[in-house]
């Protein structure tokens, strides 16, 4: 096991680094060795020790002077949809198999400025489209708990790398559940913050009104340490928010909210969560939810009740309709975003063609995998003349109704909403690949949150029943801009339970 996994979290490791008990270089060396030893997980798409060690040396030089930014020396890695100088950025696609970006994504830049040391680029579903990392052009990533199971997706490599202890934390992106679901399947913690709080500059776009970057780590306290420097207004992202309902969108906002919540909970002694109302939507517990998942999630809610919270049954009637709504809007936005891949300025260009149109069509058909092409086709169709109103605008109207459902719940009944992340534990790699919509239906609990732009987390809360005793995640959904408070809630649960401390034995 690599050196960094001997520490309970980023805070403890940071102390050891500043006391020079361990160096950034030693941590990086050790992580790189572990990554190589576990290459069979296929979590990484590009590792370059020279690039990593150069970052480690910079961190060590700062630490030697008694300085060092907040994450100096901490081993992390980036999902391969964040563009990076030096390392390739493929988005899990043949279209960008050899692409090297001339600039860093804002998220990459900010974590670099915070001193974090990147171990490389992580496997993902192609262009972030998928729920199992099986749509990667470079092979599936594997679940560290069971090499024949998917790690989830689209941030499968990110969740697998954290669960296997290869890095302390990883960046992911969540458009319809792609941080929450792999975190759940791999028994680690992940958060998707409120839409607009983290910059999308340099994050290869899939669905622009839905995409949001978020960290994956072992527990809520580590998520906080990574989310804080990642977040904040960025003028280069046109959808980056300057204000969060009147408060400036700065990194400190999240830490302040976390600290305030912790203080409030501490002040309530043995019933820290007294006054917290947890909404549990009845639609999340219908047919299709596996018994073992339901059991683990119910037990987790009871744990919150034992900490003083009150459970309230609520209804989110449009829950199932989030599926067609998302699978109209996301493909529509994707068809626009992916139109830039035309073989002209970068990316794959077909070797043979007769004219420009053929060059473009052939390059795209060769470069994009089946799921990506499927979604581009759906998106193009719903935006086309004669169908735009009936499909795209109708989906946007249903989107508003979904937002209203959540707002009514928060206004009248509860402070947070809890439920499952996925209907089952991780499936076997290769299962159910014939029906293109089978995976889509399993996104039922995560999609509505994305459509609404709300913040949400997944934290480990148990394991499935034998023979598929794989991790189960609890989803915690907050109202807008409550990511700091959500992390504090999750942290309180993680003080009372030890699911987040379980680690897989990797071959």
């Amino acid at each position: 096991m690599p050196l960094h996994s001997e520490f309970s979290g980023i805070a403890e490791l940071r102390t050891a680094l500043s006391e020079r008990k361990v160096s950034a270089r030693e941590l990086a060396d050790s992580a790189l060795k572990a990554i190589q030893a576990h290459a069979g997980l296929n979590a990484f798409l590009h590792v370059d020790p020279d690039l990593t060690l150069a970052q480690a040396d910079v961190a060590d030089a700062q630490l030697a002077q008694g300085g060092g930014a907040a994450l100096a020396g901490i081993p992390i890695a980036h999902k391969d949809v964040f563009v990076t100088q030096g390392w390739r950025t493929t988005a899990g696609s043949k279209m960008l198999a050899n692409y090297v970006s001339p600039f860093d994504a804002t998220v990459v830049q900010r974590l670099l400025q915070a001193g974090a040391v990147s171990m490389g680029k992580l496997n993902c579903d192609e262009f972030a489209m998928g729920s199992g990392n099986e749509n990667s052009a470079f092979g599936p990533a594997r679940n560290p708990w069971d090499a024949d199971a998917v790690p989830g997706g689209s941030s499968g490599g990110s969740a697998a790398a954290v669960a296997a202890g290869l890095v302390m934390a990883a960046t992911g992106t969540d458009t319809g559940g792609s941080v929450r679901q792999p975190a759940a399947f791999c028994g680690v913690s992940g958060i998707k913050p409120t839409y607009g709080t983290v910059s999308r500059f340099g994050m290869i776009a899939y669905g622009s009104s839905l995409d949001q970057a978020g960290p994956i780590a072992r527990h809520a306290r580590d998520l906080l340490e990574v989310l804080v420097p990642m977040s904040g207004f960025d003028p280069r992202d046109a959808t980056s928010l300057e204000n969060c309902r009147g408060r400036a969108n700065t990194p400190e906002r999240i830490r302040k909210d976390f600290d305030d919540a912790v203080q409030q909970f501490d002040a309530q002694g043995g019933m820290p969560l007294k006054g917290l109302r947890i909404g549990v939507p009845r639609e999340y517990f219908g047919d299709g939810l596996a018994g073992d998942v339901a059991q683990a999630v119910e037990a987790a809610v009871r744990t919150f009740e034992s900490l003083g919270a009150t459970r309230v049954d609520i209804s989110l009637p449009l829950t199932r309709l989030a599926i067609p709504t998302y699978y109209v809007i996301a493909p529509a936005e994707a068809s626009s975003n992916l139109s830039r891949y035309d073989g002209v300025r970068y990316g794959h260009r077909a070797p043979d063609y007769t004219d420009l149109a053929e060059m473009t069509s052939r390059s795209r058909s060769q470069g994009f995998g089946a799921e990506v092409q499927r979604r581009i086709m759906v998106g193009t169709y719903v935006l086309s003349h004669g169908y735009y109103d009936a499909y795209y605008l109708q989906a946007q109207r249903v989107r508003r109704r979904i937002v209203d459902d959540f707002q009514q719940a928060y206004a009248e009944h509860c402070d947070v909403i809890m439920g499952p992340v996925a209907p089952t534990v991780a499936k076997a790699i290769g299962d159910n690949r014939e029906d293109p919509t089978a995976d889509w239906l399993a996104d039922v609990y995560t999609l509505g949150v994305s459509l609404a732009g709300l913040p949400a987390m997944s934290i480990p809360c148990g394991f499935g029943s034998a023979p598929r005793a794989l991790p189960i995640g609890l989803q915690i959904i907050g109202n807008y801009f409550s990511e700091g408070r959500l992390l504090a809630l999750a942290d309180r649960f993680q003080q009372a339970t030890d699911w987040h401390q379980r680690k897989p034995e990797i071959a």
Partner: protein, 103 residues
């Protein structure tokens, strides 16, 4: 919901995708038909008087898409331009090369 073959080829042209043969077009047609059966569920939702929502937070606070000054950021050096064009499949003298469009 059944998708017509002509629609598949029309949409493929709009999307700049090509399908290799009739068998592939049929496969895509069948997949899209299956997908649109799912999407048709939206038609049953009552959305009378509901405005479309493009940005998820637009009901919560005023969202304006910022514009920046229309000022070109010069590439500034030959070296920087080369760096920006490093991924080009074909280039010459700072130009991206494509098949002739206008004779």
């Amino acid at each position: 919901m059944a998708i017509q073959k002509e629609n598949v080829t029309r949409i493929a042209r709009l999307a700049r995708l090509e399908f290799s043969d009739d068998a592939e077009i049929s496969r895509v047609q069948s997949e899209l038909s299956h997908i649109f059966t799912l999407i048709e569920q939206l038609q049953a939702v009552d959305t009378a008087g509901v405005e479309p929502m493009a940005h998820p937070l637009s009901a919560l606070q005023s969202i304006s898409l910022r514009l920046r000054e229309d000022q070109a950021d010069p590439a500034s050096t030959e070296e920087r331009r080369q760096c920006l064009m490093a991924n080009a499949p074909a280039q010459h003298d700072g130009l991206f090369l494509v098949p002739t469009v206008i004779e």
